[in-house]
């Protein structure tokens, strides 16, 4: 009996131990061992002429030094490493390191040639691009105009699953292609091996259109597909013409890129040997910098993080004026919020200075206008900052005809000044902001209810509701980001039908024909002085009417280890743009 019992236990232990070993081996190293640098394709050779002509640089394989790989701290990658479908910002960094777009932008937000020069026709509708000479993908195949055409046709594919349909939607012949009445988009024309033109449909010319040509070009011979799923199967095995070559991705662990030593412009081959994205939990990121396990990251600029990173030795915390902001939107279709004086009163009774200090410390500022302060179109003159002033707020409420009732809540025509604010807990700031309002708004006779629900639900009831009938909110707050061009149509400040109609992003219900036209004019004009003037008018109007308000602008922080040299980051230039110049002490 005893023996039998012992045997059972022994067998059980043996089984468990072997399971542990099997499991350990199953997740074991398969390809993480150092990979030798790829041998150069015969076409490129070891000595290649730089495109600028007079510079000859020795290239060829270089031994990969594991200490010369830049370590980037990330929280999650989705595996959509494709210029047409990447949607999370970390995936986009990967794409940006592997692929090259026709155009790029400089620190001032101006678009400049990247791998192609362009000309714009006199009617501002047709962009003709000429690819630079000698561009090859990382497998040595030359890039041609048909690769460019292939890439842009993917955005219009009937089964396209990405978020960037807007890139091609204004091309001439897009709709015919999409609904199947045409075999291709008539606005995309390959002229010769290196030349391609894109024609916009009548009435859609805009200086903002050039931004659509920054997306990475994919090699047609590698990505060509019949069924969309075959294309999707290559999302996690990207190949482009850029500085880095994809090696390996392990979900929730790491992604490894090695330098493309056969890069077509040898003078620009990166000085580092690769980039690794390490999946580091938020709580451990500061610790990872302390123990020298990461070189660059972009943690949230919360007060806690500012304090934590400020004390770490051996790193430099860069603060970059961000292009993202928090906004507040009122449902102007309900009686409590239809009068702009009420909305102004609510702003006067909200101490946004105190909010910025509490939520972001030095890394935030009060928002004045829907235009980014970094933009050429921004002008702070005459903008009311709505500095905290309860007397002024009460006065405005009186002017608007809202009379204080016996219970301390204002009323007008039988309506009570009761407002519900939708707050989500995923970020700290909506709670801080609504908490401040909960103290001060009752002092101007507002009965504020804060309703807490998760982010997706707030979105479904407001900004991202699929129709106007499904919008169910009085006010809400959320984060948003601005593109380089100041164009406001179609977004939360848009006054066009696309923004205000079913499924549009502007949930405020606030309409104004005159300013809708101005916004459209500003979008389409190629005269920057005229655009600036129009955007000043639009900003002033928004600053007065306040159906949607930029509450605060946020800066972002980038801790960078001291061993990293020459890393260029600014508002419009992310860390991947000039990474070929980066050096690492090793």
């Amino acid at each position: 009996m005893t023996k039998r019992y012992n045997r059972i236990i022994a067998v059980a232990i043996a089984v468990i131990m072997s399971l542990v070993l099997v499991a350990a081996c199953a997740t074991e190293y398969e390809t993480a061992a150092p990979t030798p640098a790829p041998t150069p394709a015969p076409a490129t050779g070891n000595e290649t002429q730089g495109t600028d002509g007079d510079e000859t640089v020795a290239t060829g394989p270089r031994e990969i030094n594991q200490n010369n790989i830049l370590r980037f701290g990330t929280t999650s990658l989705d595996g959509l490493f494709n210029p047409t479908v990447s949607s999370n910002v970390y995936d986009s960094y990967v794409v940006s390191l592997i692929f090259e777009g026709l155009v790029t932008n400089n620190a001032g937000g101006e678009f400049i040639p990247n791998i192609a020069d362009w000309e714009l026709s006199s009617d501002n509708l047709t962009y003709t691009f000429t690819l630079h000479e000698g561009i090859t993908f990382s497998d040595g195949t030359p890039m041609t105009a048909s690769d460019v055409a292939f890439t842009y046709n993917v955005f219009a594919h009937p089964e396209y699953t990405g978020v960037r349909g807007y890139v091609v939607v204004d091309f001439e012949g897009h709709d015919e292609f999409k609904d199947g009445t045409a075999d291709s988009i008539s606005g995309i024309n390959v002229i010769d091996e290196r030349t391609i033109s894109f024609t916009y449909a009548e009435g859609t010319a805009s200086p903002a259109n050039i931004a659509n040509f920054g997306y990475g070009i994919m090699p047609e011979h590698y990505y060509a597909f019949d069924a969309w799923d075959d294309f999707a199967a290559k999302f996690d095995q990207p190949m482009g013409s850029g500085w880095f070559v994809f090696q390996e991705w392990r979900d929730k662990e790491f992604l490894l890129l090695h330098t493309n030593f056969d890069y077509w412009k040898p003078a620009d081959i990166p000085l580092i040997d690769g980039v690794i994205f390490l999946d580091i939990p938020d709580e451990s990121l500061a610790g990872a910098f302390m123990t020298d396990q990461v070189d660059v990251a972009n943690p949230g600029a919360s007060l806690d993080n500012q304090a934590a990173f400020a004390t770490i030795d051996g790193i430099d915390v860069r603060v970059i004026e961000g292009n993202s902001y928090n906004f507040m939107q009122f449902n102007t279709l309900i009686p409590q919020l239809e009068d702009y004086r009420v909305r102004q009163a609510l702003l006067y009774a909200l101490d946004r200075e105190a909010f910025v200090t509490a939520a972001y410390g030095a890394l935030g500022s009060v928002g004045l206008s829907p235009i980014s302060p970094v933009s050429w179109a921004f002008n702070p003159d005459g903008m009311n900052p709505y500095a905290f002033d309860l007397d002024k707020a009460n006065e405005l409420m009186e002017d608007a005809g809202w009379v204080m009732g016996g219970d301390g809540v204002r009323t007008k025509d039988g309506n009570r000044m009761a407002i519900t604010w939708l707050v989500y807990p995923e970020a700290a700031w909506p709670g801080i902001l609504s908490g401040l309002a909960a103290d001060t708004w009752p002092q101007i006779g507002v009965d504020l209810t804060i309703e807490i629900m998760d982010f997706n639900t707030v979105g479904d009831r407001s900004l991202s509701a699929s129709s106007n009938a499904e919008r169910d909110f009085e006010m809400f707050t959320m984060g948003w980001s601005m593109a380089i061009d100041p164009d406001l149509t179609g977004g939360i400040f848009g006054l066009d039908e696309m923004a205000l109609g079913d499924g549009g992003f502007n949930a405020s219900g606030w309409r104004n024909e005159e300013y809708a036209r101005k916004m459209e004019d500003a979008k389409q004009s190629f005269d920057q002085a005229k655009r600036t003037e129009l955007y000043n008018e639009i900003s002033a109007m928004y600053n007065e009417q306040v159906p949607t308000v930029v509450v605060a602008l946020r800066s972002v922080m980038w801790p960078v280890a001291d061993r990293v040299g020459n890393l260029d980051i600014s508002t419009y230039v992310d860390w991947t743009y000039h990474i070929n110049k980066v050096t690492l002490d090793h």
């Binding site: 499991a23 999650s76 790491f254 610790g287 123990t291």
Partner: protein, 321 residues
Amino acid sequence: MRTYIIRRLLQIIPVFLGITVILFLIIELSPGDASTNFIDPRMRPEQRAEIARRFGLEEPAFNRYFIWLGNTLRGDLGMSMRYQRPVTEILAPMIPTTLTLALLAFLFSVIIGIPAGIISATRQYSLADNSLTVFSLIGISLPSFFFGLILLRIFAIQMQWFPLFGIRNPLYAPPNALAGAMHMLHHLVLPMIVLGMGGTATFMRYTRSSMLEVIRSDYIRTARAKGLSEKVVIYRHALRNGLIPIITLFGFWIPSLMGGAVITESIFGIPGLGRTAIDAVNFRDFPIIMAVNSMLAFLTLLGALISDLLYAAADPRIKYD
């Protein structure tokens, strides 16, 4: 016995189906869906509608459940909305990692918890018993995320004895498979302690009370009266019977290990099922949520069955027919 096992296995089927219906309803009733994650400021309304259609979010819930069930029975767990790849492909590499961690935590709990329980019981109210009791109460009540962060602070940041995150250093190439396994085990020591903490304390408390009960029974007095040594009395006579209730705990411990993995894996940055599950919930990635939760439900049912069978194996008085 065999008919009993077959009957129990057959019973699992309707219970499992019932669980999937409830799971599906909970997910269905929870607000929001994955399409919210695919928003770009420059998107057009019709493009957003198209994305919802691509994810099959426009079918009525009733139809979607049966589509899901049909596909699952054929081994197709659907396409993840976030990764846009088959769910099986995403979960497959996660399973061995989570399993390894769960088994290590389980062994840790058993190896520490049961002997500690015996010591406590045999020296009731001694200093050792009291301190172990305090320890186990702390172990049961200390939230694992807090405990995990403390361990990281001390052993990964200050002492640097253990790695801070992940299950390997991807830039380190181990010379052989054994070194690779040791490298990975080194990464799993802290997570194992955190995940096994609750189990250790629970096993200890159960062993203690069960042993105390057995030690007071008549046949132990008889054994002592025969003049057997205390060692023989405790380890040969008392322990065997004292462990019966503990064995039944093993089966039930499986699902709680998987549940604990959600927090432990998130703190230690371990690429496992738990972290995938919590990320999927945040993203509203329904196919992954359904797959992971169904797996968990199945394991729970299986755990209950294993408990009952172990019970019969350990205690000859219990017979199933």
